[in-house]
Symmetry: C2
Subunit: 250 residues, 2 copies
């Protein structure tokens, strides 16, 4: 029935179905899902039907399906994502109240920065990150912090490339990136002016465990030429506060 | 391979595995999962192995597994839960900054109130709700609002009971609950003094769609005898703001 080594177990097909849903593609027909997941139409219809029966997908009025509230509930209620963001949220709210720009929480996930939370001031500027969205590690301040205070092997793997640019200012030269990571370790924070978008500057600090490893990054996104002193002081305070809160929930 | 009508499809077994994880049981061995899900040990081990391969579960150092970050990401990034909470969050932050008590967002899910978001002031009092947690509709202010401004058939089904109490003050008499729902519709908000816990009072307002149906409830949890005027004014403003934000993201 299932064969996990071939990569084509029922579970893996189910994941392929779920992966066809994205922030901008929230409703699809079973036929569309099958095409995008590379599954035969009959298989796609059957899996979608089972997921609907289980409440993991929900049917629309017009025969399209969406990610179900039940899937969100099961994925969230006992997740590390929830514990981390509950530990960080009060501190993030203070940062946002003082700095009044986008305030973000990210972790390392499968070699990328995964954003667990984002608070946005209605007046704040451009920011392409989303909750549950990802960015490459070398191309954003959160990723630089996760990389600089992370696993040595991961650093070498990222430095080995490819280092794809998001903007003209994203570092794509391994030597430049290596110096940048040294700088991040020395300063204890990462400043990424224009790396993600030329109009904005990312500033991130690590949330560290007892061993000094970054378990998360707290960051703000500022307009490109903003001063960073206030934001840096607030982020550092928020990181300490999150570390204390995490020590309690463990 | 799969039989969705028998309720024992691969998908439904996978859901039974995921359901064994709760806010207080975040790490389990495959054997524990099998026992709690009512699955043969070999089946549990195989499904857990497939879920780990797919990244939906993650292995601990000590052979236990946890809900994986990948599952959270897939369940969240295109979910209605995320859209709703992103629409409500700025307004909730204002409520919390003014009222300085627990501020919550709930929706109707499978006949219960499911809490999508909770902001808590470090100084705020007791509150048993959690993000991705549930409460019975008749027993909390959010549920009363979702019920009063919801589907008539659902109201009758809840009124038909059983109406289990959470505290000595939870309404368990259908006639009392029916009058309460009338009151909620008349006033446009629900006040639940001591329904969930005797020490606290819930106050909720509906977030409504164009047809007047409650799509969500915004609520605060106050100490039992608190005045409610400020909180009510703030909640009403937050509901209007959330309704406007939702009109944009649809």
């Amino acid at each position: 029935m299932a064969n996990s080594t071939s990569g084509d177990s029922v579970t893996s097909r189910l994941v392929r179905v779920l992966e066809t849903f994205t922030p901008t593609r929230t409703a699809q027909t079973a036929a569309e899902i099958g095409r995008r997941a590379g599954l035969p139409s009959s298989t796609a219809h059957r899996i979608v039907g089972e997921l609907v029966d289980a409440g993991l997908l929900e049917r629309d009025d017009d025969r399209r399906v969406r990610v179900g509230m039940r899937l969100w509930e099961l994925a969230t209620r006992s997740s590390h994502a929830l514990r981390l963001r509950q530990a960080a949220l009060p501190a993030m709210e203070r940062v946002q109240a003082r700095v009044r720009e986008h305030t973000q929480l990210a972790i390392l996930e499968q070699g990328e920065a995964l954003f667990l939370e984002r608070l946005s001031d209605p007046e704040a500027g451009a920011n392409i990150t989303r909750v549950a969205g990802r960015l490459p590690l070398h191309a954003c301040s959160s990723g630089l912090v996760l990389l600089a205070f992370g696993d040595r092997a991961l650093q070498e793997s990222v430095l080995a490339g490819p280092l794809r640019p998001l903007s003209r200012r994203t570092p794509t030269d391994p030597a430049v990136l290596r110096r940048k990571l040294d700088e991040v370790r020395t300063l204890g924070h990462a400043l990424a002016r224009g790396y993600v978008e030329e109009v904005s500057t990312g500033l991130a600090v690590p949330v560290r465990d007892e061993g000094g490893r970054a378990v998360a990054a707290l960051s703000v996104v500022l307009p490109h030429d903003s001063p960073t002193e206030l934001a840096l002081a607030e982020l550092r305070r928020a990181a300490r506060s999150t570390e204390r809160a995490l020590a309690h929930v463990r």
